[in-house]
Amino acid sequence: MNSFTREKLEKRIGLLVLPLIGGAIVVALWAVASSTVATSLPSPSRTWEASRLYVMEPFEKRGELDQGILRFTWYSLTRVAKGYVIAILLGTPLGFLLGMSNFFRASFDPIVQILRPVSPLAWLPLGFVLFHKPEPAGTFTIAMCSMWPTVLNTALGVRSVPQDYLNVAKVLKLSKLKTLVKVMVPAAMPYMFTGFRLSLGIAWLVIVAAEMLTGAPGVGGFLWQEYNSLIYEHIILCILTIGIVGFVLDRMMGLVEKRLRTG
């Protein structure tokens, strides 16, 4: 009992302390690099000095281009949310069709495989052509890029529904719709959520590119603007913010996913 709790405690300390050590090593390397080989790279201390205001007053709005980092993050998140919701609303039914119908799969799977690896930088101009305005073009790009993991995982989930469950539905003579709602959707749910999680990761990845090219206010837009204003410290601030937000989003989705799996 005693040794068990001690083991657990040691494990927990390891989980907390080791990442801090890893982080410290990277910051040290960064400091050394910025003072030796890469002198144009802002040092950690200069980055902190320049970013302080943006981090300490994260929701402040001092002007259109000068806002707290979390305020910018919020703009980006709302933009991502729009594209992501569209991606899920389109991707899930598409995944079900691909998973349920061999005819549909044979017809459309090649197209999906071709569109899947297309870069956001390629979709964005098409978005401009279609919608004439930067906002919907960005939303379009996020939706087009982040949809595919949802489509493919949903299709896989539907194909993986055990025949036993479908036999139960058949013996009860459930209608097609009821079989879908009561058996297939719940059975495919864990796969669908894996897709949703991967899609969210991609949506967040795309936002930076979309904001850079559209000049919309957000973390990505801020990053590009500060690059043009030669305030390189803020590029690092933005990179760290994007990384942390992406990490938190993924963890949140991971928690939901875990719940569904055990459920």
Binding site: N167, V171, L172, K173, L174, K178, P186, A187, M189, G263
Partner: protein
Amino acid sequence: MAILELEQVHKSFGTTHVLSDVSLSVEPGELVAIVGFSGAGKSTLMALLSGLSKPDQGRVLFKGKPVEGPSPERGVVFQNYSLLPWLSAFENVELAVREVFSKDSRNAQRERVARYLEMVGLTYAKERRPAELSGGMRQRVALARALAIEPEVLLMDEPLSALDALTRATLQDEIERIARVSGKTILLVTNDVDEAILLADRIVPLSAGPEATLGAPTPVEIARPRDRRAMNHDPHFRKIRASITDYLLETQRVRRARSAANRRVAAESALPVESPA
């Protein structure tokens, strides 16, 4: 009139002839056990009776009419329980009840679910999901689900084969009791000769596959309720057990001898023919 009939049924998967010339007739209220080796085609036979698959030749008749597909009139207890893991025990039964008794009020439906869960002794575990139930408890839920839709025929596909000996004995008694009380027609597929003798009115052996077929039915004339321990000394019980076991082993021996002979023929014909010098 027979409630369930198989008329010279053949079923193949690819080039494997699983069932060959299978005929069977089950009377209403009868408990018939089909006994055979694992892999002989028992589950295939069940799928045909339930309507989940169709025979290549011959007919499957339910109340004199050809079976077109699965239907709740023929309830199935699947070998691996087939409970939906995201639903509780109660909800698993409820799903079936709401579908089959869709005209009843919600209260009547719930009351029915509760009644059948009580019948299998699971009222205390009704909120648990399948993952939180033992194998025996899962099988009870599956049994409750099959019974709750009040099928005219209950098809049980090796319902107890995955259970330990003690749970198995308990559930055998339960099936015995339910069969006696409800008077339902039950078709039980099993690989356990003793189980068949304990439960069935009539035992039909399924010969070793491939091309498995049903042997001569043996009536079990032992008074109910049957006592597992006393039965071991009953000469009639011993006679049935010996005759069915002998039949099954004999069919297996014949099959093996035949396939060995086939291999020999194949090997000989594959030998290069030497031309005389």
